[in-house]
């Protein structure tokens, strides 16, 4: 099934285009000459060793980090320093963080309702309906009026996913969504992500969950030291990585 998606995605226009993108932190080049196209509905898994630039790459896609060179075009809008453009793009790009980054002073439902009300301008009741609907989808509707600190890590991350979905984004970015979770909570978050993938969401995930990558990814992109080293469908990538660096990385994480 994922492979069918891959061929479809190749035909439709790309929703994310990254061209010759460069990102530096001071004198350190975090990303060097990155080229990447993501088709509508495509699922990409980014992996690679710590410090390889994979998180930085997806943070550049919604301009949380500003790139220093090259171009990034998201849904037809080039990311420049124009605030209106950036906020417009961010409405269409949901992001899920490693540390959840829920707003601790707001209830679960309020976390989900804030941006749709303040950015999209929908009414309180409509926002609440939408929030409850999506909380239901991530299977925590009964926690809607609790505060984030009262939930488990897995529940918090599912709230974070629901919060991003409340903006009805076209693209979802996941930045190591399961890395801060206790092992027994990883599954519930991954299941939510798999559901989302089945519905045809465009997804770019930084993750080391190889089972997830096998199950949903159209392409796996392996990064090392700020460059894309290898790009392949998940099966060939995991079975027989072409590059030595990918091979040694996979040996490290698959025991």
């Amino acid at each position: 099934m994922p492979h069918e998606n891959a061929s479809n995605a190749g035909q439709s226009a790309a929703i994310i285009v990254v061209e010759n993108m460069v990102k530096r932190f001071g004198s350190f080049t975090a990303l060097n000459n990155i080229n990447l196209e993501v088709g509508r509905g495509e699922k990409i898994v980014l992996c690679g060793p710590s410090g390889s630039g994979k998180s930085t790459l997806i943070r550049c896609i919604n301009h949380i980090e500003k790139h220093d060179g090259g171009r990034i075009v998201v849904d037809g809008v080039e990311l420049t320093n124009r605030v209106a453009d950036i906020n417009g793009v961010r409405c269409e790009v949901g992001m899920v963080f490693q540390n959840f980054n829920l707003f601790p002073h707001l209830t679960v439902a309020e976390n989900c309702m804030l941006a749709p009300m303040k950015v999209r301008g929908i009414s309180h009741s409509e926002a609440r309906d939408r929030a409850l609907g999506l909380l239901n989808k991530v299977r925590i509707q009964d926690q809607a009026d609790k505060y984030p600190a009262q939930l488990s890590g897995g529940q918090q991350q599912r709230v974070a996913i629901a919060r991003a979905l409340c903006m009805q984004p076209k693209i979802m970015l996941f930045d190591e969504p399961t890395s801060a979770l206790d092992p027994e909570m990883v599954k519930e978050v991954l299941e939510t992500m798999v559901d989302l993938a089945r519905e045809g969401m465009t997804m770019v995930c930084v993750t080391h969950e190889m089972g997830f990558a096998r199950q949903v990814a159209d392409r796996v992109i392996f990064m090392d030291r700020g460059s894309i080293v290898e790009e392949a469908a998940p099966e060939p990538f995991f079975r027989a990585p072409r590059t030595e660096r990918a091979r040694s990385f996979l040996n490290q994480i698959i025991h």
Binding site: R90, F97, F103, V119, P148, A149, M167
Partner: protein, 263 residues
């Protein structure tokens, strides 16, 4: 010991009426001054953290000026100098205000603006103490600068600095006593007047001291109630976080990582 307070004064009142009148001015000055200070303090504190160079420089300038001039000097500046440097029509209007107001308004302005500079620094510290992920998450949702501050950053920063705001509440009402230097008959001024009229120095200032202490306790108690009311469920109260040993160990240990900074 405080019997003297119930004796008749030359103007037919009792000395305690003088004291109560002084207490009233002290409270009025502290109360209204506080809201001026809080409003300006939050705005300037936010200004210190914004990316816009002009705003952050102006905010910095404000803080440096008002925080670094002694309150007493500021009091004199507002009372004696300010009416002279503004256009003479305004200056004359200020000088012609009836007696208590002519002292009250400069004192209000002085204490409000001075305390605002102190609050601004705490607001800035509170904002800077928030995890970066909060702003990133708000930005990622498409929230612009204003809503991010209004709904995400400031509400959390204020909760964080509530214990130190308690000190500012106590600070502003204690500083009201400086207003006696420009002729406002507040609590300390009345105590001095009683002492001069009766030569009962101990009783006069003893009563004032007790009044100040009671106000401090009320302020402290009030802030504790506010702290409890705005506390985020599932977290420890801010003042316990200052001394972790006071906090319920189990509760503190149960805090998930994302909440650590909000303690």
């Amino acid at each position: 010991m405080f019997g003297v307070l119930f004796e008749q004064t030359a103007d037919g009142q009792r000395y305690i009426d003088w004291l109560l009148s002084g207490l009233g001015w002290t409270l009025a000055l502290a109360f209204f001054g506080w809201w001026i200070a809080f409003g300006i303090g939050v705005v300037v504190g936010v200004g210190r953290t914004v990316k816009n160079r002009l705003f952050s420089t102006l905010a910095r300038l404000y803080v440096e000026i008002f925080r670094n001039i002694p309150v007493l000097v500021q009091m004199f500046l507002w009372y004696f100098v300010f009416p002279e440097v503004v256009p003479s029509a305004i200056g004359n209007a200020i000088k012609e205000m009836p007696p208590p107001w002519a002292s009250f308004f400069p004192a209000l302005l002085c204490l409000g603006l001075y305390t605002a500079s102190r609050i601004a620094e705490q607001v800035r510290a509170g904002i800077e103490a928030l995890p970066r992920g909060q702003v990133e998450a708000a930005n990622a949702l498409g929230l612009g600068g204003y809503p991010t501050y209004r709904y995400i950053v400031v509400p959390q920063a204020l909760r964080l600095i509530l214990p130190s705001l308690t000190s500012e509440v106590m600070g502003i009402y204690k500083n009201t006593s400086v207003a006696l230097t420009i002729g406002l008959m507040e609590l300390t001024a009345q105590a001095r007047q009683i002492s001069e009229a009766t030569f009962q120095t101990f009783s006069a200032f003893g009563a004032a001291t007790i009044a100040y202490l009671c106000l401090a306790l009320i302020a402290y108690r009030g802030m504790t109630l506010i702290d409890r009311a705005v506390r985020i469920p599932g977290t420890t109260p801010a003042k316990l976080a200052v001394d972790p040993e006071l906090a319920d160990v189990q509760q503190a240990g149960a805090l998930p990582g994302a909440m650590e900074a909000v303690k």
